[in-house]
Amino acid sequence: MSQLVIETEGLSKRFGNKFALDDLSLAIAPGRIHALVGANGAGKSTLFRILLGFLSPSAGTARVLGRDCSALTPSDRTLVGYVNEEHTLPEWMRVRELKSMRQREYKGWNARAFDEVIGHYQVLPEQRVRELSRGERAGFNLALALAQSPQLLILDEPTLGLDVVAKRAFLESLMYSNATEHCTVIYCSHQMEEIERIADDLIVLERGRLMSHSPPDEFCARISHWICDIPFMGPEPATIPGYLMRQKLDGLHHYFVLDQDAAFAEFLRSNGARSANCMPVSLDRAVNAFLAKNHATPTHSR
């Protein structure tokens, strides 16, 4: 087994009284596309900032490509590509200038990868970055990141605000470009539709903690949706095994539960259910139910 691409142990980051990362131990093997999901404030961006060496942890360790994140050298940094949701690039530079600057900075520059990606967008060399549309800037940013031949590519909500064509082009560049063949991709997104299409691996963060790490279909299979007919009140959530979320619709109780098998029907019957039916859930529903459990809600609605 080759060395881990990302390895954190007991990683914590505290801002005032709030833990953005809380004892996070994460190990990511080389290759493939790893999706990272979590509610807003789950600690994704903080994790990226620590991995990139922009922020130092309050406790614990973080390593990228076998190197300690707090001591990355410029040449280590050339091996990590980073694309953020704002697609932050120097606004005043021309496309041609920025490209040749990056080309000088990165020894492993892959001109073919750049052309392959940028070909999907109408970006002219003499245009200034600020003159590009959001989609064009995203495409240009991804082209730059892939051309640097990174071993690790971190994408933080890269398709936010892109139109359908630009989004498809972006995902195609990511999945079918030769440049990503030897690259590990960390893909952070709230769009389950995208994650279902591209992810080999799903990492769920919640309040700075690692909640789940498995292929998406295995994650999905752990969550089931039960519909039962219980007169009056259902059981108290605290007493329900694997409880994630419930809804009452047209007098029927809907429960989303984790890691429950057929025995859960017995539990429902023993709580007065006249009927209990189980069905599988989509990835979108699964992630939603999983994160709903501890998601902030106004106290009066509880």
Binding site: L171, E196, R197, A199, D200, D217, C220, P280, S282
Partner: protein, 135 residues
């Protein structure tokens, strides 16, 4: 000239079936109905991934399962082909599934109040059409 037989399938995100499962189900149906036949070449992993807009590893996984189950076969350096038809289920399992299917069918048809002879005629016609497609 393309030797690949087109695979006219699509996948849906937000389905309760994982994408791997959607692909394996669709291919099994196409083979069972004769829409694609033994000896037909399937799209490459990359080609089908691009057609469906999904990760190539997902297609590879689906093809892997279908190959293990004997629906597809790999030819060295040539790609994947629909495997020759052979019995994939045990006799007992076939009996059980046939029984299930007949029970379900009868349960659906009885409330329709159709003459049994008409039902027979319709079934015969459906099977005949299937035979013609396979021939």
């Amino acid at each position: 000239m393309a030797r690949t037989t087109p695979l006219m399938i699509d996948i849906a995100t937000g389905d309760t079936r994982p994408i791997v499962r959607q692909i394996t189900d669709a291919v099994r149906i196409k083979i069972s109905t004769g829409e694609i036949e033994p000896g037909d070449q399937l799209p490459s992993v990359r080609g089908l991934a691009q057609q469906l807009g999904i990760n190539p590893n997902t297609v590879a996984k689906a093809y892997g399962e279908l190959t293990t189950e004997g629906w597809l076969e790999a030819r060295q350096g040539m790609g994947l082909y629909v495997a020759p038809r052979r019995q994939r289920l045990s006799r007992g399992e076939r009996e059980r599934r046939l029984d299930d299917a007949v029970q379900r069918f009868v349960a659906e048809v009885v409330p329709l109040n159709v003459a049994v002879d008409d039902v027979h005629t319709r079934i015969d016609a459906e099977f005949a059409a299937l035979q013609r497609r396979r021939a």
